[in-house]
Point group: C2
Chain length 344, copies 2
Amino acid sequence: MKRKPITARELARMIGVSQSAVSRAFTPGASIAADLREKILQHAAEMDYHPNAIASMLSKSRTNIIGIVVSDMQNPFYPALIEKLSRALQEIGQQSLLFNIARGSNLEDQLSALRRYNVDAVIVISATILSAQTLLWATEGRAAILINRIIEDVDLSCVACDNAQGARAVADHFHALGRRHVAYVAGLSHTSTNSERRNAFITRVAELGMVLSTQIEGSEYSYHAGRRAAMKVVENAPKTDAIFFANDILAIGGIDALKEQAGRRVPEDIAVAGFDDIAIAGWPHYDLTTFRQPVDEMVRVVVQMVEEGSCAPGKPPIVKRLSGELVIRGSTAPAHHGCSAMPG
Amino acid sequence: MKRKPITARELARMIGVSQSAVSRAFTPGASIAADLREKILQHAAEMDYHPNAIASMLSKSRTNIIGIVVSDMQNPFYPALIEKLSRALQEIGQQSLLFNIARGSNLEDQLSALRRYNVDAVIVISATILSAQTLLWATEGRAAILINRIIEDVDLSCVACDNAQGARAVADHFHALGRRHVAYVAGLSHTSTNSERRNAFITRVAELGMVLSTQIEGSEYSYHAGRRAAMKVVENAPKTDAIFFANDILAIGGIDALKEQAGRRVPEDIAVAGFDDIAIAGWPHYDLTTFRQPVDEMVRVVVQMVEEGSCAPGKPPIVKRLSGELVIRGSTAPAHHGCSAMPG
DNA sequence: CATGATGTTGCATGCGCATTCATCTTTTTC
DNA sequence: GAAAAAGATGAATGCGCATGCAACATCATG
């Protein structure tokens, strides 16, 4: 029952042309007369002929496949990014081959697949897990771009949001609102996104003369981690009147815990800001002030790099820092000095 | 700089064996002496040789690639499913090639890619957009499985949650809580998931002698659609004391709108139930009673079908209905007015 | 009309590996 | 110990398409 697909050679024989002609008919810009191409394409449609991409990959060096390495699909930021990225890649004729790296399992095995499929480029969206060494090995000899992860030492191109800009914007915003005791809640502490946001935030807080009331070490980027962190903040530093969470999903957990578990009002008692601007941040219930990552521009830049091959191996690595935008919503508001309700 | 990868032939020549031997060394179960294989693998590791998957695909009929057709990554249910699915597929040596179908764009173009890459199987996760005809065409001649979408007429295998069971469980639960005026909020009305849930719910509601106070036509599966629908419910049928939303993301929007916009208490005034059991449903703030789809089992079944080739073309289509489980949380509780819930 | 330039076509070959077949080696069996 | 069976290996071929090359056709130019 499994009808074997028709090949170019068979089609050619039926029409009475050479197999080359068929190949050229399907190759944009190939040297072929317009009427011949037309004729072949028409017959091809009739015969339901589709060029075999695998064979094409073997002949050409290109596969038209981009390997996308992910590991954290829990944080809604990533599915949204992947969706836009895969759409944009499709528009330039590239398909996305997913490499879903599971924490703890043997990376070599999983990544050797990445080497065997001759993907045209590798886009690493996973902020975590992979060491620089592993990344280098996995992307050896092919174009590679890291998204939202900067690695200084090694030759890998990166596209990332200007985390420091965002963190400073949040600090400035807190300051302008009259907040004075601010806290930072970390994400995964060894990620560049986290350390950049933290360092810039802390520095700015000091510059502005605010007090860094506490700093919560990160465990992961998740709603529940955000809840736990928020409780630690009110426990460690009850006077805290503003919290900057390393990302939105943490902040959202934090808001819920602050309101429902710690009995604080947001934003009256504690202002909350996040980072990313995921869809949930815009839900009226959370209405989270956050620093919006320029996702569309990140995608555009990445796709352009892929298309132009400017991230090819051997070329100097390109590091793109894109600026984002502070989105001010209801989770932050001016401080009301004097009437601070301190339960407990 | 782009070091061309070493080929089997080159490696063979260096070791002083035939290319066949190299190929066999990497082929489990091939006829080759253990010590020779060992030697080859060792040299291969040294020389950083990795079999070229593309060439392998061309020789064998298998590509070890599964096409995954998605269209709706907004609903968190799908990213979660895709993550588990891609992991499970990786474990049986299959990679996932993403086909992200954008609404409105020319499907033929996007799906012709699906035909050109000789994927071993196609898994369609998109509940929407694709017509049965399009699906048939896209999966022509290859194994295909639809997840959460049942199409009766055509020869396609499906794996789905027992939507009717879930809807009945919700109706029963509402009844047991003493709710009497229940509403249904639809998702995308032309999807099988929606119609199955609606029909079973309405039927059961009637059987139990409850009143279907209103029914909101669906537009999409989204938080904001859920909010709008909830407002329509309280507007159309103020006496409604329980709402069954076609899925969780609708229900979550509904809860927020009911509480914050309509001024109703959940669950005291209105009980709310959803369907799916996405992560957000378990967040303390929502604490949503919902019918849990057996995602892990769905993935297991799908992967097994792929592995066994039981969904191959020509074979009779397999339709698997998996039962889920009602997860009772805080968004539903016994009605206070008059008639109480039945014990135990 | 002669010449070259340009455009079009088919032939042949190769991409890198899997696999069949024939050959040769080792083991088993009576 | 001889014959047969099983195992191991290499040479050769093909998977389906892209492309360099040569052959040929068409056209412009002098």
